[in-house]
Symmetry: C3
Subunit: 202 residues, 3 copies
């Protein structure tokens, strides 16, 4: 399914750019920016493959992911002053990446015949773990754990895909609808500034 | 051995509650609280299974662990104001989890025929790594690295189990004695406020 | 190749000492110091083996690494006041460890037939990931991401080894030259206080 592959590469580039940005903002040097870009782009999928026992992980089997992540990180490092123009489009690419990663992760888990809950969790993890490792490396509480609907969008898409899988919906339809749902919820969340409830422990 | 399984589920619930609490205290949203509960409950055993090459890890093969961890995290999130009543009992459940996790981890390592030191370390890791990842996600130096005898209790239990294994003690006796030792040391440590020495580098 | 094995053990000891130091400086107790020493010494190689699917990882197959890492951590904990004498030599041992770890990691990746870029990255990771996990556990932005040429030295050695592998240079020559390059760049960097460029985002 080459559309999904193209979307996956776009998402990889967008995630790498967000990781590299985080490194630049934390005053890291060239190596640090590359590590953060790389980890953000491939961390989630790599962790998923380790858990499924599918080693070496996807990015060591198809190095295009590594080249894109490192190339984009380098470009972000050297051109970041001019990248303000890209900030708005990047949000859209990031949403595309989010939807694609959830769908690819959930789908792969289903193929490995993990249970329904596991499949959803592995899909969400594919899309979110890279950003969490990025934030841990940058010595911050991961943004996604505090302020974002980011994760709910992923959950919705993963649940939808597992449901469509169980009613045996045609695969391309299931993948497109699920990825579309993630992207839609994510963009609406940005547009209307949605947030999840907090326990209000203070 | 169904007693061990029951203790394991109790420990999973107790660890999930402690993780969820940490998330609530750090002002995380619902998703963050779930992630912290889940990671605390299953992180150690998952890492052990990855190192032993036994993939997918236990929690993807028996989803009851995931359901318990997520269910308890949700309950903690919504009911945490009323859970003060549970704080004291939770310490006991937590000690039970600690002992059970050490014993299960060490036992599994022995079955995979890792060496004596490796088996002890994998047992200790099963019981402690989840809490370390929780603290890294919450952007804190893991509590266990600074102030607790927590780890010594685990070490004692792991060493005892490996020793009993080498003298071919009956398996149920070995498991019960080792888990009991961890729980006992842990409860005594709480009771008498024990602490490990520090190097005093200041 | 027993020279490489000897260098590997020296590197393991040096890395364990640096990890234990970090724990002492952060006021950790005995257990914390041991965990930091252990993770720094074996973290990179363990992560590499997980990614290559070679489980259990090297340190569970040859426990000498565990004994050295724990022994050195204990020694550092109890003798750290007298270890100022060792601080200067430790920098050299650390450089030896760096070179050896890069070469062993890259070489192992090549044997598993990963691509050229993957092999370099896995080599660099073998030498640097342990220190990154150490810094994350100590709740700091990993030093290597901010201030060090450390990583460039590793990259240079990894690239050289992959290049020599592709032109089919004799294996001992390739390994020695690559390790030597890492050690040389590292020592020159310390001597002349080199640093990588930053993006200067402020």
């Amino acid at each position: 399914m080459s559309l999904l592959y193209a979307l996956d590469l776009i998402g990889t580039a967008a995630f790498a750019a967000s990781g590299a940005w985080a490194g630049i903002r934390r005053d890291m040097d060239l190596f640090g920016v590359m590590v953060l870009g790389l980890v953000t782009a491939i961390g989630g999928g790599t962790l998923r493959d380790l858990l499924l026992g599918d080693t070496p992980p996807f990015c060591l089997q198809d190095e295009i992911y590594l080249y894109i992540a490192i190339g984009v990180s380098l470009a972000t490092f050297f051109l970041h002053r001019r990248m303000d123009l890209l900030r708005h489009p990047l949000l859209y690419f990031d949403a595309v990446g989010l939807g694609t990663f959830v769908v690819i992760g959930t789908e792969k888990a289903l193929q490995f015949e993990t249970g329904a809950l596991s499949s959803v969790l592995l899909g969400v993890m594919t899309a979110t773990a890279g950003g969490m490792i990025r934030d841990m490396l940058a010595n911050q509480v991961p943004l996604i754990l505090r302020k974002e609907v980011y994760a709910s969008a992923c959950l919705a898409g993963g649940v939808l895909l597992v449901a469509l899988h169980h009613i045996a919906a045609p695969r391309p339809v299931a993948l497109l609808c699920s990825a579309g749902l993630v992207i839609l919820v994510r963009l609406l969340a940005i547009r209307f500034d949605w947030a999840l409830p907090k326990a209000g422990s203070r």
